[in-house]
């Protein structure tokens, strides 16, 4: 099969799940006639019709509310945020209604909320968000953030089939920049399983989404200096694959966490705490964080470049850590 883009992988996952299961529906702004702002749902309306591909008013709370209501009757709605930044508009509906339903009144809400996230494309402060930690702090969600077309397709299919609300973030920098050959036919990637992208023995780099590629780039540069970094792609933040993380860190004894989310309150802090609790005696150096600046995402290319982590920043931090 010819290699496909990250974006096409998303489209295929939705297409195949909708073709196989009539309970799967898509709801969002401009997802139907227009095929989505990024064309992730192109052709779905023509194939599945207006009942299953639902264009809505600009009402994020209503989109989430309706998706949740539909799920209570046994449907599996996919709700699209045109840009993931707009998820803030339905924060209440998600965190108070959707996330708490199973715990409080035994009502599972099998919905997937997905949309383009992340920076690096000069989207500015309202079109570049990495919102994962707002929701990681709300019990009840599963949180998925893939980095490759293969994973995007397999994880989205697994998310649609999951009985819990899943927040599925699609890094828009990857949409058209990354291509991969993927197997024909149906497959899933289970939620909660990280993957070792590069084996190494000197230190562990944990990352996900676009920063996984940045970390691999840095690992190449480190290898030239004789530092073998093990790069792990977390794939899902909830559930978090602690086993893969701990196995690697117990081997390398050093850990660097790289994420595009801002530093304070990012997942790196949480992972650091887990390592101190569960692998304290295996650590030969501090758990190091490479993350975005604690600011809104700035617009100007010079500012955004300063804001975001890059391979050079990862390389420098890793080299420093390797000295311990």
């Amino acid at each position: 099969m010819a290699p496909i883009t990250f974006l096409e992988a998303i489209r295929q996952a939705m297409f195949e799940e909708m073709a196989a299961d009539p309970t799967v529906v898509l709801i969002g702004e401009d997802v139907g006639v227009y095929g989505g702002a990024f064309k992730t749902s192109e052709g779905l309306l023509e194939k599945f019709g207006w009942e299953r591909v639902i264009d809505t008013p600009i009402s994020e709370s209503a989109i989430i509310g309706a998706a949740c209501g539909m799920s209570y009757l046994g449907l599996r709605p996919i709700a699209e945020m045109q840009f993931i930044d707009f998820i803030a508009c339905c924060f209440n509906q998600l965190t108070n209604f959707v996330a708490k339903g199973h715990y409080l009144w035994n009502a599972p809400a099998p919905i997937v909320v997905r949309g383009p996230s992340g920076g690096g494309v000069h989207g500015g402060p309202f079109h570049s968000l990495n919102p994962e930690m707002y929701f990681l702090h709300t019990p009840g969600f599963k949180i998925v953030y893939p980095s490759t077309p293969y994973d995007a397709k397999g994880l989205l299919k697994a998310s649609i089939r999951d009985n819990n609300p899943v927040l599925f973030f699609e890094h828009k920098f990857l949409y058209r920049r990354i291509k991969e050959e993927i197997p024909a036919g149906d497959y899933t990637v289970p939620l909660g399983k990280a993957i070792v992208r590069r084996e190494g023995k000197h230190l562990t780099i944990l990352s996900y989404a676009a920063m996984m590629h940045t970390s691999l780039e840095a690992a190449d540069a480190l290898a030239k200096e004789g530092i073998e970094a093990e790069v792990i792609d977390l794939r899902t933040l909830m559930p978090l694959d602690e086993e893969t993380i701990l196995t690697s860190v117990k081997k390398t004894n050093k850990c660097l966490v790289v994420h595009e989310d801002t530093k304070t309150g990012g997942i790196a802090g949480e992972i650091s705490a887990i390592l101190f609790e569960k692998a304290f005696h295996h650590l030969d150096g501090p758990v190091v964080r490479v993350a975005s600046l604690d600011t809104p995402v700035p617009y100007a290319p010079t500012l955004e470049e300063a804001f975001l982590p890059n391979a050079k920043k990862v390389f420098t931090a890793a080299k420093e850590l390797a000295r311990f």
């Binding site: 709370s61 989109i63 509310g65 949740c68 209501g69 539909m70 009757l73 046994g74 199973h102 409080l104």
Partner: protein, 420 residues
């Protein structure tokens, strides 16, 4: 053009229906009175919210629903839960945080639901959130071929939330079979409705969504029921969402702790003379549907039931602490095997056949069909340009006012055999 439609003339209810309404209103009040006593005995764990004087609304509206229909109550709609079939013990155990409660002590008050049997969706404290949720339930019901109606309630206070607007607008644009009851009890906690909304009638809000609305005396259970029944039938027939404003008064404070001293004495006195149960008893006596013997029988039945239910609740244990971290996630099919109830042939959908056109249209949608006629005409491209130009003269009304902006659904050609 009147904004809200005149409620249908009361149809004669059967004797059984008449007495059902009475029974549930009395049950509603007695359940709440029992809980007030429990509250004073410190047996209610959290807050207690009363619907004293508003029972006709909860009971009259929900009584118009069928078993297959779905409802989502608000905090003052215990009467609706009772009508839908919730046993009083569930309400007592919820308030007392008992392990035997529907939420096993995880939440209190009317915050519980039943997806499988009674078709009840749990409310949350953030007002208006249920409107898009019940819109989604109605949309899913339509897709599955179920002829269901969904009903939820909102207060005068909650009608100012953003999600009220988002939800009702989505419901209107989807022609969802939603009946929304707006209980205007004149007070949002301590703020009178006149300081919240610059409208005489909150039913006027319906105009903004191009949907039908009614105004009804919320203390007249027969009027409430008759209006709700008509709205439910219209929603089921595919007319889209309908808003009913029920005018009433909140006779207790926002919650048990609130003496509501901000309420003018004259206002309270006026409404206390219009107690919905007393008014209805008078009606039933005049109509010779209820005498003192019949009344006593109902009272005895209710006190025997509530005695038993209260004892059950009081004797129930609190949840064991080790259950605190259980149930955040569904663990899979062994936890919940989710299967929709298809009431249309599933082979209509597999393999999928394209049907891009919506099977319904909303007449006048987006064309100011319900406006005063002075709004600027817009050519949407889906009406002949000539008629759009014709109405561009601001001196003339742009569109003739329609009795109802929502006409019966116009079936379009579909590749499927079945229709709705």
């Amino acid at each position: 053009m009147p904004v809200s439609e005149t409620p249908a003339k009361p149809k004669r209810l059967s004797r059984q229906q008449s007495l059902d309404l009475y029974y549930y209103m009395r049950l509603n009040r007695e359940v709440e009175e029992t809980m007030t006593r429990l509250f004073r005995q410190n047996k209610i764990v959290g807050g207690l919210y009363a619907s004293l004087g508003q029972e006709a609304i909860s009971v009259g509206t929900s009584y118009a629903l069928e078993k297959r229909d779905w409802l989502a109550p608000m905090i003052r709609n215990i009467g609706a839960l009772l009508v839908k079939g919730v046993p009083p013990r569930d309400i007592f155990t919820q308030h007392m945080a008992k392990y035997t409660s529907p939420t096993k002590g995880k939440d209190g008050t009317s915050h519980f639901g039943d997806l499988d049997n009674l078709h009840i969706i749990s409310p949350i404290s953030m007002l208006g959130d249920l409107i898009p949720v019940m819109t989604g339930v109605a949309m899913a019901g339509r897709y599955l071929g179920q002829k269901i109606v969904t009903m939820t309630w909102i207060g005068d206070g909650g009608s100012s939330t953003g999600v009220f607007h988002e939800g009702l607008n989505l419901a209107a644009s989807q022609k969802a079979s939603l009946v929304l009851i707006l209980e205007n009890n004149l007070w949002a906690y301590s703020t009178p409705v006149r300081r919240q909304v610059p409208l005489e009638n909150l039913a006027d809000r319906a105009k903004a969504y191009g949907i039908s609305s009614y105004i009804v005396d919320g203390n007249d259970v027969v009027a409430v029921y008759t209006t709700a029944k008509e709205a439910v039938e219209r929603a089921r027939a595919g007319e889209g969402p309908i808003l009913i404003e029920a005018k009433t008064f909140r006779r207790r404070g926002h919650a048990q702790h609130d003496p509501a001293e901000y309420v003018p004495k004259e206002q309270r006195a006026y409404w206390e003379k219009r107690d919905p149960i007393v008014l209805y008893e008078k009606f039933l006596t005049q109509e010779k549907l209820l005498d003192s013997k019949g009344k006593k029988e109902i009272e005895d039945k209710i006190s025997a039931l509530l005695e038993k239910e209260r004892e059950f609740a009081e004797n129930s244990p609190l949840p064991p602490p080790e259950t605190a971290d259980q149930g955040v996630y569904c663990t899979g099919p062994e936890c919940h095997d989710l299967k929709p109830k298809w009431e249309r042939p599933i082979d209509e959908l597999l393999p999928p056949k394209s049907n891009v056109d919506a099977a319904w249209v909303v007449e006048g949608f987006g064309r100011g069909g319900r406006s005063s006629g002075t709004s600027a005409p817009i050519h949407f491209g889906d009406v002949p340009a000539a008629s759009a130009e014709k109405s561009s003269d601001p001196a003339k009304p742009s569109t003739k006012p329609a009795a109802s902006p929502m006409k019966k659904p116009i079936p379009k050609k579909s590749s499927r055999k079945g229709g709705r």
